[in-house]
């Protein structure tokens, strides 16, 4: 498999310089074509276990040089040959207890986003990463997956990485982010994170090798405060291994226990609780009818049953929903979809059923129904409404609000969004734009905390009816006629605005009275033919 993909392949075994007794895992690293010929981007190190930590290091230049080369564009793929590992001791260990292997993925590009966007982006990425591991946890700009359990399934870390790289790259591109990321794998969560953060795309299999692998990292990866960094620098500490040379007690006193905990966690000496990603719940249920149904009323008992399942689902998880998607399937036709969106989340089966019934009432189906399905993807926490103790059977504010919402949802279900509107004022001088139809879902009482905004409204009288299209008036013998003769009562009110826009307005408005008794709002153009128009009824 390697041969087919790689342009150059090098196999490097990194022997420990000063501990010949330790065996080195043999590994092969392949160079991806993009990496360029300058340096092998392979950054795989598995250095050896040495008990005396003082001199156990690989030449830092070599290590970081190798690691950082991969940062630019490409992400090196690493390969380890399990069978050649001669470390029989730890091999047998791993067989016994199967220590977990944590795969950290670090996305430095997300640092530009604000907190909320970061969270959203990480959640999206975690939803992709869940394809390779059942445990994905959130960290700062990073995700960590447990992959030991899925190595066998995917056939090795290389294939697993290829798969992950594919899905994460497409997800990052979809977010308009650069598609590169850093990764590292080690037996501890923090260890993997530190390695990934250092940009060293490393794989460390054995816990015993962690110390030497981490030792070469600069202290920057610990994400310390400026003051702490300065103190470490003044103490002559540049790498993590320098810290390990110092007595633990002293460090703990000077830098606090959190600092030591982080290091201990990285080495696997302390427990690491993680915040795991939980995929959002979805509900889907479908029912194949035993025979074709033309009459939608006959479908209602089945809908009732499906809604019952949904309500059970919601009750068990303590959720409620505001968005239901029914699909009615037909033979040789595309399915009819019914989207029910609610003003307020609910889990009441009677309410759902009533809405479906209302939707069905207006629905014409192209063909007989052979199957029905319900999919619900959006959920909210369930808030039950409490009744007050001293109510005396009178409905309180929340139940009134509920009734109102149910009433509006029912109206919306029957009439459709386009036919049911709320109205609101807009701060605008042009009369035809000063009133707007708004969607009832956004048109709630909460908007009216400001109370009605008198200041937004013109001070001169305005008509209750406004004609969508002004009607032209007839002028005969210097008298105006609509249906009957019109005489002007008051005016003019000059409205001259929006010359910068396409629909500029230059009008003189008058209040007028028709002989029959209607009070009218009329205007005369101030430009062009200076025609008269009827614009509204005071009614």
């Amino acid at each position: 498999m390697e041969e087919t993909k790689t342009s150059g392949q090098l196999s490097l075994a990194i022997p420990s310089k000063d501990s010949p007794e330790a065996t080195s895992s043999q590994m092969t690293a392949k160079k991806t074509p993009e990496a360029g010929a300058s340096l092998s981007s392979a950054s795989l190190l598995s250095s050896n276990l040495v008990l005396t930590c003082v001199d156990t290091q690989i030449d830092p230049n070599q290590a970081t040089g190798v690691g950082l080369a991969g940062i630019g564009k490409s992400v090196a793929t690493s390969k380890i040959n399990d069978n050649t590992s001669s470390d029989s001791n730890s091999n047998s260990n791993s067989k016994k207890s199967r220590p977990s292997l944590w795969y950290a993925i670090y996305f430095p590009q997300l640092g530009k986003l604000d907190d909320l966007q970061q969270k959203d982006a990480l959640t999206d990425l975690a939803a992709k990463a869940i394809s390779v591991s059942s445990t994905v946890s959130f960290h700062e700009l990073a995700l960590v997956c447990e992959i030991r359990s899925s190595l066998g399934y995917f056939g090795g870390i290389n294939l697993l990485h290829d798969k992950l790289k594919g899905v994460l790259s497409t997800a990052l591109i979809a977010m308009d982010q650069p598609e590169h990321f850093f990764y590292a794998s080690s037996p501890t969560v923090s260890g993997s994170l530190l390695l990934a953060r250092a940009g060293q795309n490393k794989l460390v299999y054995q816990k015993s090798n962690l110390r030497s692998a981490l030792g070469t990292l600069p202290v920057d990866v610990l994400n310390l405060s400026k003051e702490q960094n300065r103190r470490l620098y003044n103490m002559g500490i540049r790498h993590l291994k320098d810290i390990w040379r110092l007595p633990g007690d002293g460090i703990r006193k000077r830098f606090g226990s959190e600092f030591m905990d982080q290091l201990n966690k990285a080495l696997g000496k302390a427990q690491e609780p993680t915040l795991n990603y939980l995929p959002p719940p979805t509900f889907s249920s479908s029912y194949d009818l035993p025979y074709e149904l033309e009459n939608l009323d006959r479908l209602l008992p089945i809908v009732d049953e499906i809604i019952g399942q949904l309500c059970d689902f919601l009750t068990r998880r303590d959720l409620s929903t505001s968005h239901l998607m029914f699909s009615l399937f037909h033979e040789k036709r595309s399915p009819t979809c019914i989207e029910i969106s609610l003003r307020q989340t609910s889990r009441s089966s009677t309410h759902f059923l009533l809405l479906v019934e209302t939707y069905f009432h207006n629905l014409t189906i192209p063909a007989a129904v052979i199957a029905i399905s319900l999919v619900v993807n959006q959920f909210d926490a369930f808030f039950s409404h409490t009744d007050s103790l001293l109510l005396d059977g009178r409905p309180d504010a929340t139940s009134r609000e509920n009734n109102l919402n149910q009433f509006m949802e029912q109206l919306k279900a029957r009439l459709g969004d386009n036919y049911l509107k709320g109205i609101s004022c807009v701060a605008e001088h042009r009369p035809e734009y000063a009133s707007a139809c708004v969607d009832i879902n956004t048109h709630t009482k909460k908007n009216s905390i400001k109370k009605y905004t008198q200041d937004k409204v013109a001070t001169r009288p305005r008509p209750i009816w406004l004609l969508e299209k002004p009607e032209e008036l007839v002028e005969k013998n210097s008298r105006l006629y609509h249906r009957k003769a019109i005489s002007i009562i008051s005016g003019p009110e000059r409205i001259e605005t929006a010359w910068w826009a396409d629909h500029d307005v230059r009008r003189d408005y008058y209040i007028a009275q028709e002989v029959s008794g209607s009070r009218l709002w009329i205007y005369r153009e101030r430009s062009g033919e200076r025609r008269w128009f009827l614009h509204g009824y005071f009614s």
């Binding site: 109205i423 004022c425 409204v457 305005r462 209750i464 406004l466 009070r519």
Partner: protein, 233 residues
């Protein structure tokens, strides 16, 4: 005409315990009503905001519930000005107003000028089918959140009116149907018809309002009202 409305007040003032008890008994049953005394029998209306109109309406104001027809020869005769005070009180009590198929677009700034919060107004557009419009009217009567339903329907069969009347009565809601043409033999659900026409040709600001039919009135009464008094003439 005012005599039989003011009569019970004077009676009650004179009456002792016994007659008070009788009144109480009479008033306790809503199905029992005496034509001569609407105000004293729980038919307390919403004040219309126009004192002349209050004086000719039984119950001294709009009925609390039921169906009302407002007839005007054409839209825009001032029929909404007549209802503005009622709308204001409905909105202030926290209830909603449903406008069903108004002939033109409802202009929010005018309502705000009249002191009506547009956040509690729902409009069913005119292009909704008549069946849907009537259905939503009935549904609105049934919810307690709707305080007033305004509908523009020119012709409705008696059975439909009767059904709406029942819904409005049980839902404790007032429904107003605006019509263009008067139907003399409009079936019973209609309680109140108000006809408007300008009284004097040279003085435009007054309109003639006639109560053609109302529970408690024996004959039609009419009055002249200055509908646009709050606006500058």
């Amino acid at each position: 005409m005012n005599s039989y409305i003011s009569a019970p007040d004077s009676l009650q003032a004179k009456a002792g315990n016994a007659s008070g008890h009788i009144d109480q008994l009479l008033n306790s049953n809503p199905n029992l009503w005496r034509g001569c005394d609407m105000a004293g029998q729980g038919f307390h209306g919403h004040s219309t905001g126009f004192s002349q109109l209050d004086s000719i309406l039984p119950g001294k104001g709009w009925p609390q519930k039921g169906l009302m027809e407002v007839i005007s020869p054409q839209w825009g005769m001032g029929e909404l000005q007549l209802l503005l005070p009622l709308m204001r009180s409905v909105i202030d009590s926290g209830k909603w107003i449903l406008w069903i198929s108004p002939p033109h677009s409802v202009y929010a700034p005018a309502l705000v000028q009249a002191g009506i919060d547009t956040n509690q107004i729902l409009v069913v557009k005119i292009d909704a089918s008549c069946k849907d419009a009537l259905w939503s009217m009935e549904k609105a009567f049934q919810t307690e959140n709707c305080g007033l339903v305004l509908a523009w329907q020119n012709w409705l069969p008696g059975t439909v009116l009767r059904r709406l009347q029942l819904a409005a009565d049980t839902g404790n809601t007032l429904g107003v149907i605006f019509k263009k043409n008067e139907c003399k033999h409009s079936p019973s659900p209609t309680r109140l018809q108000i006809k408007e026409s300008s009284l004097q040709k040279d003085h435009f600001s007054t309109a003639q309002v006639t109560v053609l039919k109302a529970r408690g009135n024996f004959r039609s009464l009419s009055t002249d009202i200055d509908l646009y008094s709050h606006q500058l003439a």
